[in-house]
Amino acid sequence: MTLLDETTPKTAGDMVTAGRASGALPTAPSASRPAAPTSTSIAGALNAALRDALAEDPNVVVFGEDVGPLGGVFRITDALNAEFGESRVWDSPLAESGIVGTAIGMAMYGLRPVVEMQFDAFAYPAFEQITSHVAKMRNRTKGRVTLPIVIRIPYAGGIGGVEHHSDSSEAYYTHTPGLTVVTPSNPADAYSMLREAIRSDDPVIFLEPKSRYWSKDVVALPVQTAPMTRAVVLREGTDVTLLAYGPTVKIALQAADLGAAEGLSVEVVDLRSLSPFDDETVGASVRKTSRAAIIHEAAQFGGYGAEVAARITERNFFHLAAPVLRITGFDIPFPSPKLEEHYLPTAERVLAALDTWEW
C-alpha cells in the first residue's frame, strides 16, 4: 500500500500465532485422562494422541477425507468430530492436493493441521504440494514461515488390500530435504511420536503401519517414549543388528526369536525416525555386532534400505564383517491380495538372508 497511500501497516503480523518452540515434551497428562495401564492398540493410541493434542492446543485442527463423523476408514479419528466439533475436526472435499495445499495456508496462519491421506497411494496427488512447498517453505523464507503440519499416511501392506492400498512410499519422502519422516511400530510410540510430531514446528510425514493398527500393548496414556527422531534398541544382541521400522519391526523380532533358536544373538533396532536417520544409535549397534541387515516392505531398488546400507557402510566399513543385507519387497508393483504373502518379507527370509553371509 505504500505506493498508494504511504502507510505501511505493521499490525497484522502479530495476529498470527507464532510457531511454538519445539522440543519441549508434554509433562502433565490431560486432566481428564486416567493413567491406568490398559490394553491399547496403535489405532487407539493414535486416536488418543489426536484427542489430547486437540484438547491441549486450540490451534490443532484435523481434516481430510472421511475423518469426520465416520472417524476415518481406519477409525483413527473416531469420535473426534463429535467431541471437538466441525471447526476442529472435519471432512474435506475429496482432493489430496487440496488437503495439503490448504493445510499449508492454515499453518502459515498459525494453525497446526493434522491431515490424513486415506491410503499411501492416494497421497501421490499431493506430491507437488508436499515436495515443492511443505518441504521447502521454511528454507525459502529463511525460517520466517514454518509449517507445523503433520501428514498422516497409513502405509504398507499385509491387510489384503486391493491395488493402490498397500504402497510403501517412504523413500519418496525421505529423499526430500525439509521433511521429517517417522513411523511408530507400537502403541506407546504411536501416541508419543504423534504428540511430538504435532508439536514440531517442522512438517512431519507420519507413516502409520496399517497392518499393525490393531496390535495391542498394555500402556498407560499419556506416555512419553524416546524422542521421535531417535532409533531405539528393542532387543540386545551381539551377532547381528536387524534394522526395521513400522510393519517390519515385528518381523525383526520374530527373526530374532528364530535366530536365538539357532544360537544367533540378534540385536533389533527400531529405526522409528527415517529422516533424520539416527546414525549414533545404529552405528553403535553395528560396530558392536559388525553385521547388519535392514528389513522393509517397499521395493528394494532405490528403497529406504539402500540409504541405510550405504550410510552404515560408509561410516563403519572397517567394522563390517559382511555387506549390509536388504530383506525387502521385490522390484515389482505391490501384488494383489492373494499373492502379497509371497512379496512381504518374513522372518524366514531374514534368516535365509543371514545364511548367505560367510560367518
Binding site: D66, S92, P93, G98, A261, P337
Partner: protein, 387 residues
C-alpha cells in the same frame, strides 16, 4: 494467435443445466411431459425392455456378489445397488467400438458389456489387479485412484479422433471424485481438444461417508460444464429412460464431432461404500428408506407393465436368466484359480531384467523348498533334526 473472444459478436451464451433433473419417467412409472423432459423423448419399448432386463440381471449379480463378500469370499466389493439406471444406460448408449472407462463401483457396467463374472471378480477376490482383457471388451481396468481414468478416456478419444476412427470414450465418475484435480483437467482437455468423450457422473450423494453438501457448493455438478464450454445435463439418475436418452444424445454428439458432454445422474448408493464400511455412522436409515421408494427398476417395471411390454412370461424368463447368472457367479467362487506367484515377475516390463530374474529365481527356490517340506519352519526342533 490469441482469442479476443470478447470482441467477437458471435459468442454463444451457454445454456445452464436445468434446476430440476431431466426426467422421462415419474417415480410412479408414468411418462413425464413438458419442461422436465428438456426435449428428450422416451426410448422405444425394445430398448426399454433391454434396459430392464440388463438392470434386473445386474442387480441379481450385484446382490450375489455382496452376499459372497459378506461371507468373506472376496477381499472387497463396492456395490452399485440402486445405481443400475446410470450404469446400464451408460453401457447401452455405447456402440461396440466405443470405450468405457469405469471405476471400482461399476462392475455391473462391465457385466452388461459382456465381461464374465469370473473376469470381473478376479480383482475383488484378490487374484490379480485386473482380470479381463481390456482390448477385447474396450473397457479399461476399473480405476481406483479417483478421477485418473477420466484423463485416460480423453486421451483415448483424442487418439481415435487423430486416427479418424469412429470411437467415443465414456467415463463413469463418482460425485466425490469430481473434487480431484484430474476431473477438472479431464473436462478441460476434452473441451479444448474437442475429444469425443462423455463424462457420466453418478452422483450417489456420498463419497464413502462424506455427503455431497461437503463436496460441492454448486447447484448441480452439471453446472461445471459451463466453465468448459461444453453442454451439461442434470438428469434423474434413477430414471433409466432419461439417462439413456441423454447419454445417447451425448454419444451421438461426440461421434459427429461435437465434442464432450458432462452428464450428472442424481442417484443414491443403497449399500455401504464397501463391505468394510459402516454407513450407520453417517446417514439415517430413513434416508435410505426414502430412496428405496425411488428405485430405478421398480419405476421402469411399472411403466413397462402398464404398457403391456413386460408380460409375465418375459418377466419370468428374465428372472430365470438372473438366477442362472447368480448360480454362475457362485460357481466362480467355488473354483479356486491356480495362481502362480512367479507370474508376479512376468509383466512388470516387456523386456527381461536380470535383477528381476534373480528375484524370480529366489522366490522359485523358496517355493520349491516349501513344497518339498511344507511344514518347514526354523524351529529349534527342526534345527536339531537337521544337524
Amino acid at each position: 494467435m490469441s482469442q479476443h473472444y470478447f470482441m467477437s459478436d458471435d459468442v454463444v451464451v451457454p445454456t445452464l443445466p436445468t434446476t430440476k433433473p431431466i426426467r422421462l419417467l415419474s417415480e410412479a412409472g408414468r411418462p413425464v411431459t413438458g419442461a422436465q423432459t428438456a426435449g428428450f423423448s422416451m426410448p422405444d419399448s425394445d430398448t426399454l425392455l433391454g434396459l430392464y432386463r440388463a438392470m434386473v440381471l445386474a442387480r441379481r449379480f450385484d446382490a450375489q456378489v455382496t452376499a459372497l463378500t459378506r461371507q468373506g469370499r472376496l477381499a472387497t466389493y463396492p456395490s452399485a445397488l440402486g445405481q443400475e439406471a446410470c450404469e446400464i444406460a451408460a453401457v447401452a448408449a455405447l456402440s461396440p467400438q466405443d470405450w468405457l472407462f469405469p471405476t471400482y463401483r461399476d462392475s455391473i457396467a462391465l457385466l452388461t458389456r459382456g465381461v464374465q463374472p469370473a473376469e470381473i471378480l478376479a480383482s475383488f477376490r484378490g487374484d490379480w489387479h485386473s482380470g479381463f482383457d481390456q482390448r477385447e471388451h474396450r473397457i479399461a481396468s476399473q480405476a481406483t485412484p479417483l478421477a485418473t481414468q477420466a484423463l485416460h478416456a480423453v486421451g483415448l478419444a483424442t487418439a481415435a479422433k487423430l486416427k479418424h476412427d469412429d470411437v467415443v470414450a465414456l467415463t463413469l465418475l463418482g460425485d466425490g471424485s469430481t473434487s480431484e484435480g484430474d476431473a477438472h483437467e479431464a473436462f478441460n482437455f476434452a473441451s479444448v481438444w474437442q475429444a469425443p468423450t462423455v463424462f457420466v457422473i453418478q452422483n450417489n450423494q456420498y463419497a464413502i461417508s462424506v455427503p455431497f453438501s461437503k463436496q460441492s457448493h454448486a447447484r448441480t455438478l452439471a453446472d461445471r460444464a459451463i466453465g468448459y464450454g461444453m453442454p451439461g445435463y442434470f438428469v434423474d439418475g434413477n430414471d433409466v429412460a432419461a439417462m439413456y436418452a441423454v447419454i445417447s444424445h451425448a454419444v451421438a454428439r461426440a461421434r459427429s464431432g461435437g465434442g464432450p458432454t458432462l452428464i450428472e445422474g442424481l442417484t443414491y448408493r443403497m449399500e455401504a461404500h464397501t463391505n468394510s464400511d459402516d454407513p450407520t455412522r453417517y446417514r439415517e436409515k430413513s434416508e435410505v428408506a426414502d430412496w428405496l421408494g425411488r428405485d430405478p427398476i421398480d419405476r421402469l417395471e411399472k411403466y413397462l407393465s402398464a404398457a403391456g411390454t413386460l408380460t409375465d412370461e418375459v418377466r419370468e424368463s428374465i428372472a430365470t436368466d438372473a438366477e442362472a447368472l447368480a448360480t454362475a457367479t457362485r460357481d466362480v467362487m467355488n473354483e479356486t484359480p491356480e495362481l502362480d506367484p512367479l507370474e508376479l515377475f512376468d509383466h512388470v516390463y516387456s523386456a527381461e531384467r536380470p535383477a528381476l530374474l534373480e528375484q524370480r529365481a529366489f522366490l522359485a527356490h523358496e517355493l520349491a523348498e516349501t513344497e518339498s517340506d511344507p511344514a518347514a519352519e526354523h524351529t529349534e526342533a527342526e534345527m536339531a533334526a537337521r544337524a
